[in-house]
């Protein structure tokens, strides 16, 4: 079966038929009724709603971070490690210079 031809034929069939533009009786009045029922959009009300919604997650995050700060064990001081690393780095150059020349060949 030639799928290309079949697809073209089917799409051509779909093109021939244009959907109906019929509007159900009284549709406009129904829409207008719905529009009157919908409250007008107030940008301040939208902001207030969004901020109120954001308040609860913010309080939650604040509480979690507060608890974490209080309960987490203090981090170990790494001063000794740094001094050791510095010493190693400085003496590494000196150690290299003391290597006998015949070993480097």
């Amino acid at each position: 079966m030639n799928l290309d031809q079949l697809q073209r034929r089917l799409l051509a069939a779909a093109r021939v038929q244009t959907p109906s533009e019929r509007v159900p009786y009284g549709f406009e009045r129904r829409v207008m009724g719905r529009l009157r029922a919908v409250p007008a959009l107030d940008s301040w009300a939208l902001w207030a709603q969004a901020l109120w919604r954001a308040a609860a997650p913010c309080v939650g995050i604040m509480l979690v971070l507060g608890a974490w700060t209080l309960l987490a064990p203090p981090a170990k001081s790494t001063t000794a490690d740094f001094s050791q690393q510095l010493e190693n780095t400085v003496f590494a150059t000196a150690d290299q210079e003391q290597v006998p020349a015949d070993l480097l060949r």
Partner: protein, 191 residues
Amino acid sequence: MERTEAELIGAVLQGDAASFEPLVERYSPRVFATARRYARRESEVEDIVQEVWLKAFQKLGSFRGDAPFEHWLMRLTVRTCFDFLRGHQRNRETTFSELSQPESDWLEHFVAEPEAAEADADAARQLVTRLLEQLPPAARLVITLLEIEERSVKEIAELTGWSVPLVKVRAFRARAQMRKALAKLSSEKYL
């Protein structure tokens, strides 16, 4: 004397909601025709059109008036239809046994004599609807706009809010997906 479109929009923006009714009357036929391409049941079509008008009323302030109101409304309609398709996504494959008698007859007729198969037969249209229902929302939208309504890529980009390259990529994928669905449907019977 009949008020112009700009006068009606201006009045609605100044708080006269009743001035919106003539706009609903004037453009509802086009909105209905568009919605009927994407929804099969009449109750779904009415829901889509009602949603379009609610959005149009609420967003009327964003209509700048540099393009006709109809273009702005059709963009809103196409986007609402796309939202509807995404909300009612059915990942269901049609099997040959599910086709109605006229549909399978039309397919058999096409296989026997491809040139003689009627192009405007109802069965062929039902088959297309069936195939389109199997496609993902973006693919269905792009096939409908590009292949059935014969709109240009640029027009589709304006209607959907997608970029031109994205429309091209989606059109390419959509055609492949449609071909795949068609191949699957026909292979059950003829391969």
